[in-house]
């Protein structure tokens, strides 16, 4: 039971990270109609920046703030230099172009930071396990991730629903051309949205750095999960990304934790033993396939033009 609660929380935590990535991806796709494979690279940069700045300043929090800023700036620079020519192009062109960027960033990181990866240590306060309900202990830092992401989600909600920028974002998501025709500075809007996406990705990267990984190519694996999240949630919808991220995080984590034993209990053969871990990693793709059969546009499709 305790194990179950722990895994449940891990699932929520993974969901939170996925949400940060997916929110940026879905915003960028919804508003700029851009498929961005280099999104994972910004996630990676966030982690590397955080590890570097934390080591330099001796403070995790300071390092995180600097990393977030650096990632935002990197995102903006990337948008201005390399992403702008891809707007309005076919998705194939965008896939190829951002694929090239992905290769570039992996190599750049290898050049600057070396091939070995880095570690980021936590302040000792965060390392303690906290008792959330009597008898159940969960690492404080993982709770921080969940709390921080919920705060970001709330901020995003306020931004999108209550500010002028947010209004432009929502308008742009449902009718791109109209927003341009209204005389809004589209270039600036796009740059800001891209920067916001980069910041979200960087935030996810730096938050998970102490407990998961800081290495080259770390963006690739999680990017796929983020794609699954926005397919399930509906491209262009932040709300959809949130719901889908939690679902995907839970199913993936709980699936990996419990399915193998469940399968082995049910089918006691060699084949089951071999296939169990493989099958459990398939669970979210099965979910995605299932949803596609009934709702090909995802759970909360944003109105698209």
């Amino acid at each position: 039971m305790l194990y179950f609660i722990e895994q449940l929380l891990n699932g929520v935590q993974l969901g939170m990270l996925l949400f940060l990535l997916a929110a940026g991806l879905t915003l960028i796709f919804g508003i700029m109609d851009l498929v961005n494979l280099a999104h994972g690279s910004l996630y990676m940069l966030g982690a590397y920046f955080a590890a570097t700045f934390a080591a330099l300043t001796g403070s995790f929090v300071l390092g995180a703030i600097l990393a977030l800023t650096a990632t935002f700036v990197s995102g903006v620079a990337l948008e201005v230099i390399a992403i702008r020519p891809l707007y309005g192009r076919s998705h194939l062109d965008q896939v190829l172009g951002t694929f090239g960027l992905l290769l570039f960033f992996n190599e750049l990181v290898r050049l600057v930071w070396g091939p070995a990866g880095m570690t980021l240590s936590l302040p000792s306060a965060m390392l303690t396990a906290v008792q959330i309900i009597p008898g159940v202990y969960y690492p404080a830092y993982r709770l921080v991730i969940i709390a921080a992401t919920l705060a970001v989600a709330a901020l995003l909600y306020i931004l999108v629903m209550r500010t002028r920028l947010g209004m432009l974002i929502r308008a742009g998501a449902s009718n791109r051309e109209m927003v341009g025709a209204l005389g809004v500075n589209i270039k600036l809007l796009y740059t800001l949205v891209f920067g916001l996406g980069a910041a979200l990705a960087g935030f996810a990267g730096l938050m998970q750095a102490p407990i998961l990984t800081v290495q080259i190519g770390m963006g690739e694996n999680i990017l796929i999960l983020a794609f699954v999240v926005i397919i399930i949630g509906g491209i262009g919808s932040i709300r959809g990304a949130f719901v889908a991220a939690i679902i995907v995080g839970l199913i993936d984590t709980l699936g990996r934790a419990f399915l193998p034993d469940l399968l082995r209990a049910m089918i006691n053969t060699n084949a089951a033993l071999t296939l169990a871990p493989a099958l459990s990693s398939m669970s979210i793709y099965m979910l995605m396939a299932g949803i596609l059969v009934f709702r090909p546009e995802g759970l909360f499709p944003a109105a698209s033009k």
């Binding site: 192009r89 194939l92 172009g97 694929f99 570039f104 690739e220």
Partner: protein, 316 residues
Amino acid sequence: MSVLFERNPRNAVTIGLLVILALIPLYAALTGNTFAMTLFTRVLILAMAAVSLNLIMGYGGMVSFGHAAYLGLGGYAVGILAKEGVGSGFIQWPVAIAVSALFALIVGALSLRTRGVYFIMITLAFAQMVYYVAIGLDRYGGDDGLTIYKRSQFGGLIDLNNKTLFYYLCFALLLASIYLVSRLVNSRFGLAIQGARSNERRMRAIGFPVFRYKLVCFVIAGALCGLAGALLANHTNFISPAMMFWTRSGDLMVMVVLGGLATPFGPLVGTVTYLLLEEALSRVTEYPGLFLGPTLLLVAIYLHGGIAGLLERRAP
């Protein structure tokens, strides 16, 4: 195919390339440069995979981002059967093709009802799923991969361990694939596929049940790529999940686009270019990605916007 006999610069390059490829084993024998054989065998095999991708992506407008999965499935079919004691190529290769075709059928049935970027991401996700399944297969090497000690046996017909023979087999199969695909795309089936790429709404209006044709096309491409996977496993005597990591699918897409979408020899030209470029860069610098990456970006921006623009289906 008769178009090959017109005199123009593109044909000259193609024919020149074919001649060079045919002479590689001779060159390797004369100079002792076995690496050339290895490299170009790989080129031939991946070119075949690229031909299959060009069928659905170039001619059919289906931008599948999960094509490397079929290389993996075909390769794993050979590897798993070999490990379980079934060494005959007469069994391994048809199984490789059948498994790939079946997977393509399932993925296609689920994905082809979506369009645009959904389709791209969904094919990507399904391929990644196969990747993770392969990692989970401890018995067959898991993450580390599996060595194949004996290449597919064809009982005296041909010894695949003979590198020269293997090279020419791959070459022959590549040429056969190019020929078959070129006949396919000009047949009634092929025109239906191309029509669906050009204007799916129009196709439906004149009476084509588009889905079934796209699905069959998707399966054919998957099966052909599965065969390439079987060849690849034999070539490297090794299979691993890395064969189907999604960035490999990206590589395949680059090869197809570089060479020219919807052209018979484009995939071959693109594969040669990309692999040689990769090879050359890795000799010149320790960080090839620093140059390869921006090159891809520039290709995407400047080299073929027009062709890919035609590819992109407009939502009605």
